[in-house]
Structures are given as C-alpha cells and as structure tokens.
Amino acid sequence: GESVGLHLPTLSVQEGDNSIINCAYSNSASDYFIWYKQESGKGPQFIIDIRSNMDKRQGQRVTVLLNKTVKHLSLQIAATQPGDSAVYFCAEVSNDYKLSFGAGTTVTVRA
C-alpha cells in the first residue's frame, strides 16, 4: 500500500540553529500534506499544510517545501528553540480524506 515516511527517526539540533525535517511520500495522487508537532502526552498539533499546486509555504518560523518530482516534503524550523523539542509527523491526505502518517522524527534541542 501507499506509505508516508520520514528519513530520520531522531534529530538533535543546537538552540538557535535551523532544523530541517524530511519526509518521503509514495502516493503521487495525494494533493494535500500536513505537518504536525506532538509533545509528550499531547495530541498532534497542526503546524502547517501545503497543497500539491504549491512548492513552498511559509508560516511563523516554519517553511514547508514540496518537491513533487521526487515525492519529497520537508519542514524547516528557523532559529530552533527549546519549545520546539517534540515529535514531528508529516501526513498526506488521500482522496477519501484519510490521513496517512509516517513514524515521526523526534527533535531534541540542545541548549
């Protein structure tokens, strides 16, 4: 079946540096992608989304890039802060509105 995956299960980053979290997807028919942040003991929290007719979308300190040619999605976090420590998931939305998630990347911010 189709799957969404993240390249690395863990990422350690120095406070103040930029973080890049990568995700590969396999369903070329997907037209909507979402990044979520999940802190310990909490449900996933929406960060940013992007549609397949876009290559880039920016939010507050976050940027999502979509490369449809290689089916790759990335989340960039600028000036990473301790509060950014969490598990990050990418998800793709299928035609019947179901989300498919990758296993997640755990980001740890070093002081």
Partner: protein, 115 residues
C-alpha cells in the same frame, strides 16, 4: 478556540471488559476519525465517519467498533478488551473536504492500558 475533546486522558481496564472511548468536537465538522498510536508504528487509522450514522473501516478495525449517533460525537468501542489494545488513542475531526482551518484537529488522546 475550536476543540476536539476526549473524555478520558488515562484509562485502565481489565481483559475482556467492554470499553467506550468518547470524542466530542465543537467545530461542526463532518468527518471524524479514530487512530491509535504505538511506538515505532506512528498513527494508524481504526475507523472513520463522514456523517451521522455512517462509518467506514480504517486500516486496523479488528477488535473495534464505532458509533456516531450525533454529528459532534464519535465513540470508539472495544468489544472485549485485550492486552494488545493497550495504546494511545487519538480522535480527530475535519471539514469536508479538509484543507480549511488547518486541516485536521486532534484531541489530546486517551492512554488506555489493558491488564
């Protein structure tokens, strides 16, 4: 602030018990979903619903059923709880189609332990 509320944060149940997990959303969303989350496996879809009184199986429906009698409430039922159903359960809702108001909204989760 819009919300998806799951009635319990933590539950401990015995093997063989019938377990009800409740989820309520106040956003008038058409779609509601139940996922379970396990270490190393990410989030897996159990059941979902596009409208009142309708339900669709997700990827791992075995051992579960659902009920949606009202638009705002979606219940997950474990007919006879087993230890392999120990997990974090997450409810979500979305507009139809998703993509407005930030896509899907998740509840805080219910951590169920079956002993």
């Amino acid at each position: 602030d819009v919300k998806v509320t799951q009635s319990s944060r933590y539950l401990v149940k015995r093997t063989g018990e019938k377990v009800f997990l409740e989820c309520v959303q106040d956003m008038d969303h058409e779609n509601m979903f139940w996922y379970r989350q396990d270490p190393g496996l990410g989030l897996r879809l159990i059941y979902f619903s596009y409208d009142v009184k309708m339900k669709e199986k997700g990827d791992i429906p075995e051992g579960y059923s659902v009920s949606r009698e009202k638009k705002e409430r979606f219940s997950l039922i474990l007919e006879s709880a087993s230890t392999n159903q120990t997990s974090m359960y997450l409810c979500a809702s979305s507009t139809n189609p998703p993509g407005t108001l930030g896509g899907y909204t998740f509840g805080s989760g219910t951590r169920l332990t079956v002993v």
